[in-house]
C-alpha cells in the first residue's frame, strides 16, 4: 500500500514538474507575442495621430511642405541642406549614410512642413555634399512661387544628368 502511495506521489510530482516547465515556456512565448501585438497596436495608434496632426496643424488651405529627393544619383552625396523661406532660415538637416542611401533608392524626405499665407514667396535651398572624387560641392537653388488658398508642395530635386558628370539641382512645384 505504501509503495502504491509513494508511486502516485512520485508520478504527481513528475506531472507537476512537466506542467510547470511547459507553463513557463508558454509564458515566455506568450510574453513575446504580447510584445509583438503591442507593437502593432502602437503603430496603428501612431497612424491615427499622424492623421489628426495633419488635419489640425496643417489644414489643406494653408499647408506648405518642402520635400527632398535624390533618386538614382550616384555621383553626388548630399551631406547637409539649409532652407530659407522669405529671407528667414527655417530649417537645416545633416544626413547620415543610411539616409543618403534611402534617398538614392527613391525615398522622399519631408524636410519642412508649415502653414503659409496666400501670396508670393521665395524659397532658397543651400545644398552641400561631396562629388564622386570626394570634393566638396555647394549649390544654391532659388524658387519664387505663388501660394493660393490651397496646399503647396515643393521638391528640392537632385537629378542625375547623363550628359554632364555633375547632377542637376532644382526646386519643382508639385501639381
Amino acid at each position: 500500500m505504501k509503495a502504491i502511495h509513494s508511486c502516485i506521489r512520485y508520478t504527481l510530482f513528475i506531472c507537476a514538474l512537466l506542467l510547470s516547465n511547459s507553463l513557463f515556456a508558454a509564458n515566455q512565448a506568450g510574453l513575446d507575442a504580447e510584445i509583438e501585438e503591442l507593437k502593432a497596436e502602437v503603430i496603428e495608434l501612431n497612424r491615427e495621430l499622424f492623421d489628426l496632426e495633419e488635419q489640425l496643424l496643417y489644414p489643406a488651405t494653408t499647408s506648405f511642405a518642402v520635400f527632398v529627393s535624390m533618386e538614382s544619383v550616384d555621383d553626388f552625396d548630399i551631406r547637409s541642406i539649409k532652407l530659407n523661406l522669405d529671407q528667414e532660415d527655417v530649417t537645416s538637416y545633416l544626413y547620415s549614410d543610411e539616409q543618403i542611401e534611402a534617398l538614392r533608392r527613391g525615398g522622399i524626405q519631408k524636410l519642412f512642413a508649415s502653414n503659409l499665407k496666400p501670396g508670393l514667396h521665395k524659397l532658397k535651398a543651400e545644398i552641400q555634399g561631396k562629388d564622386r572624387d570626394g570634393r566638396l560641392v555647394k549649390r544654391v537653388v532659388v524658387a519664387d512661387f505663388g501660394k493660393a488658398r490651397s496646399s503647396k508642395y515643393l521638391e528640392v530635386k537632385i537629378k542625375h544628368n547623363p550628359k554632364k558628370s555633375k547632377p542637376d539641382f532644382a526646386i519643382v512645384e508639385w501639381k
Binding site: 509583438e36 496603428e44 497612424r47 527613391g106 525615398g107
Partner: protein
C-alpha cells in the same frame, strides 16, 4: 553549436531594407509613399509602418503587393518576427508575383533565413535557405549564402550537403574562414578523427587572414582548438594553440586558464603556475576563470611539494572566496531590484528600436559594471534586453503622444476662443451694414444719372435756376413751333431773336451740364471703387469667419477619443513592461545565484584541501618530532 551561433551573430549585420528588391519611386508625386520608402530604407521602421498603414487606409491606389513587401520588411526590422514571417512566407512563396525578379526573390529568402538564424529559429532558417537556388543568388551575398547554408546543414547533421557548400565558398572570402571554423567545431562534436579536426582548424587559421580582424579570429580559433585538444587529452597540441593566443585579447583569461591545466596535465607544475599567476594578477576576482585559478594555484604548489605554501594559498583562496561571495551578495541585493535596468535604458539612443538597433551595454558608473558586462554579453540576454528597450521606447512614444494630444486640445481651445471673439465683435455685421449703405447710395446716384442722361431735357441734373431756364427754353421752342405754322413765321428778325435766345440758353445749360456730368462720373467711380473694396473686405471677413476660426470644430472629440486609446495602451504596455523587466531581472538573479553556488563549491574544496594539508603537515611535524625523540633516546 553555441559556438556556431555566436560566430554568426558576430559576423552578421543584416539590414531589413536589404530584403527589398529595388522599388523605384513612382512617377506620381505621392508624398506619403515617398516618405514611407525614405523611412524604410533609412532604418526608421516604426515610421515606415505608420505611413504604410496610412497608405492602406487611404486605399492601395495601384501600389498593390508593394505595400505588403514594405510592411513585412518593416515588421522584420521592428522585431515583429512572427507577423513578418507569415507575411514574407505568403509573399515569397507566391509564384504569381511576377514583379519580383528571381534574383531578388532568392536574396529575400537568404536574408529571411539569416534573420531567423540570428533569432535562433534554426529549422525555419533551414527551410528558407533550401528555397534558394545557388545559381540565382547575387554575387555580393553568394559566399555568405554558402556559409549560412553550411552552418545550418551542419546543425542538421547533413555532412554531404555541408561539404558541397564549403567547397563553393571562395577561399579569398572571409566567409571561408568562418565556414572552416564552424566545420571544425562541428567535427569536435562528432566522432571525427583528430587529424581531420586539426587540419580543418589549421585551414581556418590560414584563411583568417582574409577577415576584417584576423588577429581576433585567430585568437578565437587557437582557443577553440586548444580547448578541444585539451579535452581530448592531447596536451601538447593544446599547449601549441593556447600559447598562440594574444595576451591582450578578449579570449586571454580562458586561454591562460586552459594553458595552465594543459601544462598541469603534462606534469609541468612549475610552468603552469606562471599563466595562472598572470591571470590572477591582471583580472578581477569576479572573473570566473580567476576564481578557478585561486584553487588551482595551491593545488599546483601541493604537487610541487611546497605544502606549507599550498596551505597558505588555500587559506588565502578561502578568504578570497568569502570576499567574492560577499561581493556577489551585494550585487544581488543591488540587482534584485533591477536597478541597473533604468540607467542602461536611459543611455540608449532615443527612438532607435527594433531588431537591428544594437544595445549599448556599457555602464561606466555602475558598481556592478564588471559582472554585468560579463552577463550581458550573452546573446539570449541581449535579445531580452532588446525587447525591454523596445517597450521602453514605446512607452516614451505613447507618453509623448498623450502630451501632443494635450497640446492639440489647447490649440483647438485657442481657436474656439478666437472664433468666439470674432463673432462677438460683430465685425461682419458692421461691414455688411456699411456695404448696404454704400450700395443704396450707389443705386440712388445711378438712378439719378440714368434719369438725367436718358431724359432729353436733362432735367435730372438741373438746379432750380436751370430748370427755369429749361422751361423758358421749352417756351421758346414752343413759340418757334407755333411761328412755323403762323404768318409771323415770315418775320425773320423775330425768328432770329428766338433762335439766339435758344442758343444762349442751350450754351449756358450745356456748360454747367458738362461740368456736372464730369463731377457725377468722378463721384460714381469713387463710389464704385469703395463698393469694390468693401465687397472684398466683406468676402475676406466672411472667409475668415467661415474657415479659419472654425478649424477647431470636431477635433475635441477626436482628441479625447485618441487620448483615451493612448492611455489604455499605456496601461497595457506598463503591465507587459513590468513582466519583461521581471524576466530580465530573473536572468541576472539566476546567474548570480549560480555564480555564488560555484564560489561556495570552490570554497568548500579549498577548505577541505586546507584541512587535509594541515593535517598532513601537522602529522609530518609530529612524525618528525617523534623521530627526533626516538633518535635522542637511541643516542642516550
Amino acid at each position: 553549436m553555441r559556438g556556431l551561433l555566436l560566430l554568426l551573430i558576430m559576423s552578421s549585420a543584416a539590414n531589413a531594407a536589404d530584403l527589398l528588391p529595388d522599388q523605384p519611386r513612382t512617377a506620381k508625386q505621392d508624398a506619403i509613399y515617398g516618405q514611407a520608402m525614405y523611412s524604410l530604407h533609412s532604418g526608421d521602421y516604426a515610421t515606415a509602418l505608420t505611413l504604410n498603414n496610412k497608405l492602406r487606409h487611404r486605399g492601395q491606389r495601384g501600389y498593390g503587393k508593394v505595400l505588403d513587401i514594405h510592411e513585412a520588411t518593416a515588421q522584420l526590422g521592428l522585431g515583429m518576427s512572427q507577423s513578418a514571417k507569415k507575411q514574407f512566407h505568403k509573399l515569397i512563396s507566391d509564384k504569381r508575383l511576377s514583379f519580383i525578379p528571381t534574383e531578388a526573390r532568392s536574396q529575400a529568402w537568404f536574408y529571411l533565413a539569416k534573420h531567423f538564424y540570428n533569432k535562433g529559429m534554426w529549422s525555419t532558417a533551414l527551410k528558407a535557405i533550401r528555397k534558394i537556388k545557388a545559381a540565382q543568388i547575387g554575387p555580393s551575398v553568394k559566399d555568405e549564402y554558402h556559409f549560412l547554408a553550411l552552418t545550418l546543414e551542419l546543425f542538421k547533421g547533413n555532412q554531404k550537403k555541408a561539404d558541397q557548400h564549403i567547397l563553393a565558398i571562395n577561399p579569398k572570402s572571409k566567409w571561408a574562414a568562418y565556414g572552416f571554423l564552424n566545420l571544425a567545431v562541428s567535427y569536435t562534436e562528432r566522432d571525427v578523427h583528430i587529424s581531420k579536426v586539426e587540419a580543418v582548424f589549421d585551414k581556418a587559421l590560414l584563411l583568417s587572414e582574409n577577415t576584417s580582424n584576423p588577429k581576433a579570429l585567430a585568437d578565437r580559433i587557437h582557443l577553440m582548438a586548444g580547448k578541444f585538444f585539451f579535452a581530448t587529452g592531447r596536451g601538447r597540441s593544446a599547449i601549441k594553440h593556447l600559447k598562440s593566443v594574444g595576451l591582450e585579447s578578449a579570449y586571454t583569461p580562458k586561454a591562460l586558464l586552459t594553458y595552465g591545466w594543459a601544462l598541469t596535465e603534462q606534469w609541468l607544475y612549475h610552468d603552469a603556475l606562471q599563466p595562472w599567476y598572470m591571470l590572477k594578477t591582471n583580472h578581477s576576482p569576479l572573473n570566473q576563470d580567476v576564481q578557478e585559478t585561486l584553487i588551482g594555484i595551491p593545488f599546483l604548489l601541493e604537487k610541487l611539494n611546497a605544502k606549507v605554501m599550498a596551505l597558505g594559498a588555500f587559506d588565502y583562496a578561502v578568504e578570497q572566496y568569502d570576499g567574492i561571495y560577499e561581493k556577489l551578495g551585494h550585487s544581488a541585493s543591488r540587482l534584485n531590484t533591477g536597478a541597473f535596468i533604468e540607467p542602461l535604458l536611459a543611455q540608449q539612443i532615443p527612438d532607435r528600436w527594433g531588431a537591428f538597433a544594437p544595445i549599448d551595454l556599457s555602464l561606466p558608473d555602475h558598481p556592478d559594471q564588471v559582472y554585468l558586462k560579463d552577463v550581458m554579453s550573452k546573446g539570449y540576454f541581449q535579445g531580452e534586453l532588446k525587447n525591454l528597450r523596445d517597450l521602453h521606447v514605446m512607452r516614451s512614444q505613447l507618453t509623448k503622444a498623450v502630451d501632443d494630444l494635450d497640446a492639440f486640445t489647447l490649440t483647438a481651445q485657442e481657436r474656439k476662443k478666437e472664433y468666439t471673439k470674432i463673432t462677438s465683435e460683430k465685425h461682419l455685421t458692421k461691414r455688411k451694414k456699411h456695404l448696404q449703405e454704400l450700395k443704396s447710395r450707389y443705386k440712388k446716384l445711378l438712378a439719378r444719372i440714368n434719369k438725367a442722361f436718358k431724359n432729353p431735357d436733362g432735367s435730372g441734373l438741373a438746379s432750380d435756376f436751370e430748370k427755369e431756364q429749361l422751361s423758358r427754353f421749352e417756351n421758346v421752342d414752343n413759340q418757334l413751333a407755333k411761328l412755323k405754322k403762323s404768318e409771323l413765321f415770315k418775320d425773320k428778325n423775330y425768328q432770329k431773336r428766338l433762335k439766339r435766345v435758344q442758343g444762349v440758353l442751350a450754351w449756358e445749360l450745356s456748360e454747367r451740364y458738362t461740368a456736372r456730368k464730369k463731377q457725377v462720373s468722378k463721384n460714381l467711380a469713387l463710389l464704385e471703387s469703395r463698393i469694390k473694396t468693401t465687397n472684398k473686405q466683406l468676402a475676406a471677413a466672411e472667409f475668415a469667419y467661415k474657415v479659419a476660426p472654425k478649424a477647431f470644430s470636431g477635433f475635441e472629440n477626436k482628441n479625447n477619443r485618441l487620448k483615451a486609446k493612448y492611455k489604455n495602451q499605456l496601461a497595457k504596455l506598463e503591465k507587459v513592461y513590468n513582466k519583461q523587466r521581471e524576466r530580465v531581472g530573473s536572468i541576472v538573479k539566476t546567474d548570480i545565484k549560480k555564480r555564488q553556488e560555484r564560489v561556495m563549491n570552490y570554497q568548500l574544496q579549498a577548505r577541505l584541501a586546507a584541512a587535509r594539508l594541515f593535517d598532513e603537515t601537522s602529522n609530518k611535524k609530529r612524525q618528525m618530532a617523534s623521530d627526533q625523540i626516538s633518535i635522542g633516546e637511541l643516542r642516550q
